[in-house]
Symmetry: C2
Subunit: 249 residues, 2 copies
DNA sequence: TATTATTGTTCCAAAATGAGACAATAACCA
DNA sequence: TGGTTATTGTCTCATTTTGGAACAATAATA
């Protein structure tokens, strides 16, 4: 049973995958008024990395993204957007990956397929922080949430990938007032207050918004369903809860 | 000198290129109030295609895009944006490319590198219609302009690529009032009238704009330099010419 | 019962936009 | 030469949107 020593996904040829092409994921969650992303932690090497994956020979690129995303988060039906492809030669640095593989007891040859140059297609995903069950991949020791404002050092160009993902997310925000329920729903709990929704906007955009204007605009979209009030125990008026209307198919 | 029969770029291995990865270009020009794009024409096969190219082993992805773009247009310093990567399995259809190659007298084997599956990175470019000198590639018979509103049938998913490019261009337009001079300059001649600028907007956005509002907004950007008047010979008031201020470095 | 913090709403000024109106022309024409 | 016509630059005013603040309505607490 020697294939247990060399997992199928790390076979010397990587034969079932498209060569030279990878995907990297910036997976956003929102918790306690903070944007967080999932990172893989290679403890033995002090290296953190974005979750990634490869495309099978008979698989659509975007389908591969959903497959890998499901593997890392245990979720399907994820809000997912492809945002940019990264192909600088400088990405090709065998040192970190070799260190990671050796920390796992592998001794890859210089021509191991994982050590070749990769162009990587970047995706960002928006998922429910409370429902996701982050699962480490074969080479990493953990897959966990990290605050976007306080990221550990990332390998290769992953910092730039995160930055580009955030910029794209912000730009998409402006253009998608209508699709609010599609992108905001996964980041919030089932019901939420206006303050929580505003906080989400402020955190993503990185700037404060005016309370009355925000409320006016959100209500004018005519997409929020007002429910009962939320009594938080504070010495003040209780805010209404809202939810998005049920998806119509 | 048999390598003249099999051009270096079509060598059996494609060894100098990253395997399985290509680029497709939607190259926009603006002429006579029409948006046009460059297409390659394979006359013998009734097939039209977007200009494309491959990435060298030691070349940054975006650098490769500029190199190929220069080859097709004879221009450098082009406004260029990467907008999406296309990776459906359905893209992999050997028939059209085989037909094209055989029309050129090549007899590719089933495993010829050009006949394998490619993921393609899409770029759109904005260039000066009057300055570009479209140059056909090794497999095509011509590289010429076609009206966006009246495109011939395109091979594979190239129609969808054009559509996505246009959508991205429109979205970018909204967000880049400031960068107006960067993106609009290559599409217009050195000097232009307000009507021509408005026509450019209307053509890209696919909708009419109000004349007075447009003029007010453009002038309020404080970026247009008003020059002399343009006497076109028409029986009416002559419009001012404008130009963008010289780039500051 | 007064106090406090937070919320939903209202109000008004300021800014942006929509929709025309109007005067100023170039060229043409009678 | 003076009227005609099409187009342009600007102005006006109504409408809409936004900014910024005020205000009343609470939940809990003291």
């Amino acid at each position: 049973m020697s294939q247990h020593l060399i997992p199928e996904e790390l076979n010397p040829e990587g034969a079932d995958f498209l060569p030279g092409l990878a995907m990297d994921f910036v997976i956003f969650g929102f918790h306690q008024n903070q944007l967080k992303i999932l990172l893989l932690d290679y403890r033995n090497t002090d290296l953190f990395a974005l979750p990634g994956g490869f495309i099978r020979q008979n698989e659509n690129l975007n389908d591969a993204a959903r497959r890998v995303l499901a593997e890392r988060t245990s979720l399907t039906d994820i809000y997912l957007e492809q945002f940019y492809s990264f192909g600088d030669v400088a990405r090709h640095d065998v040192a970190p990956l070799r260190a990671i593989m050796e920390a796992k007891g592998l001794k890859p040859g210089d021509d191991h397929w994982l050590l070749r140059r990769f162009v990587s297609v970047g995706y960002y995903a928006l998922i429910d922080f409370t429902k996701a069950v982050p699962i480490a991949d074969l080479l990493s020791d953990s897959c966990a949430w990290y605050e976007l404002t306080n990221l550990p050092p990332l390998m290769l160009d992953h910092r730039a990938i995160v930055q580009k993902a955030l910029e794209t997310l912000r730009a998409d925000l402006d253009r998608k007032g209508a699709g609010l329920n599609r992108w905001a729903a996964p980041l919030l709990s089932e019901t939420f207050t206006m303050g929580e929704l505003q906080s989400l906007y402020e955190t993503i955009l990185g700037q404060k918004l005016r309370r009355s204007s925000f409320q006016r605009k959100m209500l004018s979209l005519d997409i929020l369903v007002r429910l009962d009030k939320k009594y938080s125990g504070g010495a003040h008026k209780a805010p209404y809860r809202y939810r998005f209307p049920a998806e119509e198919k």
